[in-house]
């Protein structure tokens, strides 16, 4: 029920702590901490009614960190949880500590023994692989029946997982979390005679496979795929664009180094120490990181250093408010850790789950923008009567290649629609390009209530004057 309940399977925290204490003592190690995880997974894929691959996995992994007499840190990771494996890991970490960075040594988080947030995360019994298979076969069949052009569902999967993770340190901190999750994804491929194939899909997450919204996933995958069947080229130009919640969250995630104290200290972020308190975006934009949102399936109660996770304001009223921190970066900034650390010799910092919203009293939210689907009226208002039309960006691709986070630039392929003269048509192939800082200052407004996605919560986001390259 809560994240602080002992593991039901897998990791025995007390036994592991005793073994580490004994082995560390024998190795002359006074200070150490450890992150461990184990999981059991089952997953299925199908292909036109036949099982394609059935998979199971049992995984275990630990990372140990040790501090040497010069207070330098070393780490080693292993999947070997035997005594011999743990001893070797401690030896490896001790050897690595000789090369630890003398100018920045992580310490135990001051919050490693602070109370954890209580999460409502029901632990579900696994349904078993044959049950998963039957469910996925039905879902695939349902999706294939939605439109004659949908011929295959080439990317599909239904999985369930139970996992334990823990954090221990030599000062007595002991964090443990047990979790069950399930996921379903369906990406359909549709092709009409004489036309190019089109593809789209949907994803659902839940605490157990029986809780998954299978029907909703099928319906959304079908709707999105069918919506792209009638496609055409778009002329290259500058357009007002509407980002779907998924697309906008992907873009913000790709540029999350803006909010990352580790990246700031390393000089690879567009932000600097002095950026805090300065405008980053239009006055109505708020961005929070909130892994504790009830809709965040699989939320972590603590980070890799044992720090409790929490909701953190990153941008409010367009002003950069806070950075994401580990223990070491927080110490460098003179603030408390925020619960966003990994575990390592150089501790990484990463966002958890974004909430995009309108800052109260600053406008922007549903600021008179008509739904794009309403046609000409909304379009005319959106493009200022220029006649160029409106581009709806449904999903972005290739973020790993097309985003230059340290430069602020992006050039990304996307799937979407072009709305002109009251008609909506899928775009055959196009890229959208720009600068993230410029984009954040060019937001026109939000549309609709925030939509929950696996990456966060966001409304549809309208942005002016983005470069779109088409092949018309």
């Amino acid at each position: 029920m809560t994240t602080t309940t002992p593991a039901t399977t897998g990791l025995d925290a007390a036994a592991l702590r005793d073994r580490l204490n004994t082995l560390a003592s024998a190795a002359g190690i006074q200070q150490w901490d450890l992150g461990a995880a184990c999981s059991t997974d089952s997953s299925v894929q199908v292909d036109r009614g036949e099982p394609k691959q059935l998979k199971g996995a049992q995984r275990s992994a630990i990372t140990v960190r040790v501090w040497n007499s010069d207070q330098r840190i070393g780490i080693t990771s292993t999947s070997d949880l035997s005594d011999a494996g743990l001893a070797r890991a401690l030896e490896g970490a001790k050897a690595a500590s000789a090369f630890g960075n003398p100018e920045e040594t992580p310490a135990f988080s001051p919050l490693a023994q602070a109370p954890l947030p209580v999460l409502d995360q029901p632990l579900r019994e696994p349904l078993g692989i044959l049950s998963l298979l039957a469910t996925l076969k039905d879902a695939e069949a349902d999706l294939l029946a939605r439109h004659p052009a949908i011929g295959t569902v080439p990317y599909n999967g239904l999985a369930e997982r139970s996992s334990d993770r823990l954090y221990l340190n030599s000062e007595g901190a002991c964090r443990q979390q047990s979790l069950t999750t399930a996921s379903l994804y369906l990406y359909a491929r549709a092709e009409e005679a004489g036309r190019k194939p089109r593809s789209s899909g949907a994803v659902r997450l839940a605490y157990g496979a029986a809780d998954l919204d299978v029907a909703g996933c099928v319906a959304e995958a079908a709707e999105r795929t069918i919506a792209h069947l009638d496609y055409g080229p778009i002329p290259t130009g500058h357009y007002t664009c509407v980002f779907s919640p998924e697309a906008f969250l992907d873009l913000i995630g790709a540029f999350s180094s803006l909010f990352n104290a580790r990246a700031v200290l390393d000089g690879i972020s567009l932000s600097t120490r002095e950026s805090l308190g300065t405008p980053l975006a239009v006055p109505f934009l708020s961005i929070h990181d909130n892994g504790l949102h009830p809709a965040n399936i699989g939320a972590a109660a603590f980070d890799g250093e044992g720090t409790p996770t929490r909701r953190l304001a990153l941008v409010e009223g367009g002003i950069l408010q806070n950075f994401l921190h580990s223990e070491a970066t927080a110490r460098a900034f003179g603030v408390a850790p925020t619960g966003h650390a990994g575990m390592g010799a150089k501790v990484s910092v990463s966002p958890d789950w974004f909430e995009i919203s309108a800052t109260p009293g600053q406008g922007g939210a549903a600021s008179g923008l008509n739904r794009f689907a309403r046609g000409a009226a909304g379009r005319d208002r959106a493009d200022g009567g220029s006649g160029a039309g409106l581009v709806v960006i449904d999903s972005l691709s290739a973020l790993h290649a097309g985003v230059k986070a340290s430069q602020g630039s992006f050039s990304l392929p996307f799937d979407g629609w072009w709305i002109q003269d009251g008609e909506q048509r899928s775009i055959e192939a196009a890229t959208v390009a720009g600068d993230i800082r410029q984009l954040l200052r060019s937001l026109v407004g939000f549309e609709g209530a925030g939509k929950v996605t696996p990456a966060g919560l966001s409304p549809w986001v309208w942005v002016e004057d983005l470069a779109v390259t088409g092949d018309a």
């Binding site: 292909d47 049992q58 070997d80 692989i129 190019k196 194939p197 390592g344």
Partner: protein, 477 residues
């Protein structure tokens, strides 16, 4: 079933492993499996990061695990585990069998198993490789030399990084068809990256080098040349304008330019894609799918190349596969499951990131063969276009649409390179772009890379000579 004494740390060429695994293979066959395969691995990895004048991260890791795959008809079940004890392996096997409805008490047809042949050991001469790799002190010193050289050869540098990664893997593959082989793999990669800033101008560029099976790789690395090359490119790109979007002819440089073939076509020639119905080339063997200037090859045998291997992850020795010959599609890359489900013969292309993934048909060293032209001929043939000197990553989607980023580009005007441009993304569709590769130069060269797909992230080589694409969509501002 009885098991020999458990010693999971015994080396994989120790005969106790075959004695331990044979009863499991026999058990799987008796339960009605057509084929049972065990992939066992031990790993030892090390990664280091230097930033400016400091080593800021040293991350060793080691592990072990097994992937157990069972085939019955066209179906398969796969289970991975970190537990290499006889009980752990038996438990995983039983789980894989159960996925296919096979149990020891089932009334399924009993299969026979004739025992394993002697071990085919590709690792015999590789036993000391791990010890011959650079020590932590040596590797650290080399990286710090790299960041110092970046400082010497660069300007306006805000961040300088050098990284090193060493991946050692000891692999044993056994299967009920008599596969019984072992190999030791060693991959090392070293990279440099910088961020330069001057006012509003910013540039971030990187270079990465990698080899396989060369313990001296880091010692052999020409650190000076790499730092000078990156420094020169960064200085050029710092004040580059954004590329003008549109449809252009482009010339792609050799080495990592080969990512265009990898993304635009190579993935579509894997039987994994045939199985999924996501390749437009499934029924095109013997037919033209590319310009007649294009011959493309995938192989796993080039000495030291990142995608080379003594055996694939299903125990098959690699082949040289001519995929496209003068524009005609000749064959697909196939693994065990691909052969079973599509009929395309195995090519030694069954690959996986680790024991946690089932093998799939994947590329190895993939390149376009050299042509008759000089690189300058290609540029001279274009009035207005784009020269792509270095490429970033790319991807291909389920409909064959591909994309990749251009890291360092130059405008071509009247047959000559002019100003540098940044921010370009090339997009297109395999069926449309392959016939437009109209000229190939004579300067084939290869580059190391990583490829992420259905069986995880694997080491690959991409390559090509300079090539000309008559028209492609260039995304920009």
């Amino acid at each position: 079933m009885t098991s020999p004494t458990c010693n999971t740390s015994a080396p994989f060429h120790d005969p106790t492993w075959s004695a331990r695994l044979e009863p499991l293979l026999a058990s799987g066959r008796r339960c009605g499996a057509d084929l049972v395969e065990f992939f066992l691995e031990r790993t030892d990895h090390l990664s280091l990061l230097a930033e400016q004048e400091l080593i800021t991260s040293v991350s060793p890791s080691f592990g072990m695990g097994a992937g157990i795959r069972v085939f019955r008809g066209h179906r398969d079940g796969f289970v991975s585990t970190n537990d290499l004890t006889p009980a752990g392996l038996m438990r995983a096997l039983e789980q894989a069998l159960a996925m296919l409805g096979l149990e020891s008490s089932a009334a399924a047809p009993m299969g026979s198993f004739d025992g394993l042949p002697p071990l085919r050991d590709h690792g015999t001469v590789k036993g000391d490789w791990l010890d011959r790799c650079p020590s932590l002190a040596d590797a650290s010193g080399r990286l710090l030399q790299g960041t110092a050289l970046l400082d010497r050869h660069g300007s306006h540098l805000q961040a300088r990084r050098a990284s090193y990664s060493r991946s050692w893997q000891d692999v044993l593959v056994v299967a009920s068809d008599g596969t019984h082989c072992r190999d030791i793999r060693l991959h090392q990669t070293v990279g440099l990256s910088v961020i330069a800033a001057d006012g509003d101008h910013r540039a971030s560029l990187s270079r990465r080098y990698g080899t396989t099976d060369n313990p001296d790789d880091l010692r052999d690395w020409d650190c000076e040349a790499a730092a000078r090359d990156l420094g020169d490119s960064t200085a050029t790109m710092l004040r580059a304008d954004f590329v003008e979007a549109g449809q252009y002819p482009v010339v792609l440089a050799n080495r990592f330019g080969g990512v265009i073939f990898h993304e635009a076509c190579g993935h579509l020639l894997e039987t994994t894609q045939v199985e999924r119905g996501t390749t437009p080339f499934a029924d095109k063997v013997g037919e033209p799918i590319a310009h007649g200037a294009v011959t493309a090859i995938d192989e796993g045998m080039t000495g030291g190349a990142f995608g080379s291997l003594a055996m694939d992850d299903e125990g098959m020795e690699p082949q040289r596969s001519v995929l496209i010959e003068n524009g005609i599609l000749r064959r697909f890359l196939s693994d065990r499951a691909g052969e079973l489900r599509t009929g395309h013969a195995r090519t030694g292309s069954g690959r996986r990131q680790s024991h946690a993934f089932a093998a799939a048909s994947r590329m190895r060293n993939t390149y376009i063969a050299p042509g008759p032209h000089q690189p300058q001929d290609l540029i001279a043939s274009i009035d207005r276009g784009l020269y792509c000197k270095t490429m970033g990553g790319g991807s291909v989607g389920p409909t064959g649409q591909f994309n990749f980023a251009v890291e360092e580009g130059y405008q071509i005007e009247n047959g000559r390179l002019t100003k540098p441009v940044k921010g370009a993304t090339l997009i297109g569709e395999a069926k449309e772009v392959m016939p437009k590769i109209s000229m190939c130069a004579d300067d084939l060269d290869l580059a190391a890379g990583f490829c992420g797909s259905v069986s995880g992230s694997i080491y690959v080589t991409v390559g090509q000579p300079h090539i000309k694409v008559d028209a492609i969509t260039v995304g920009g501002r």
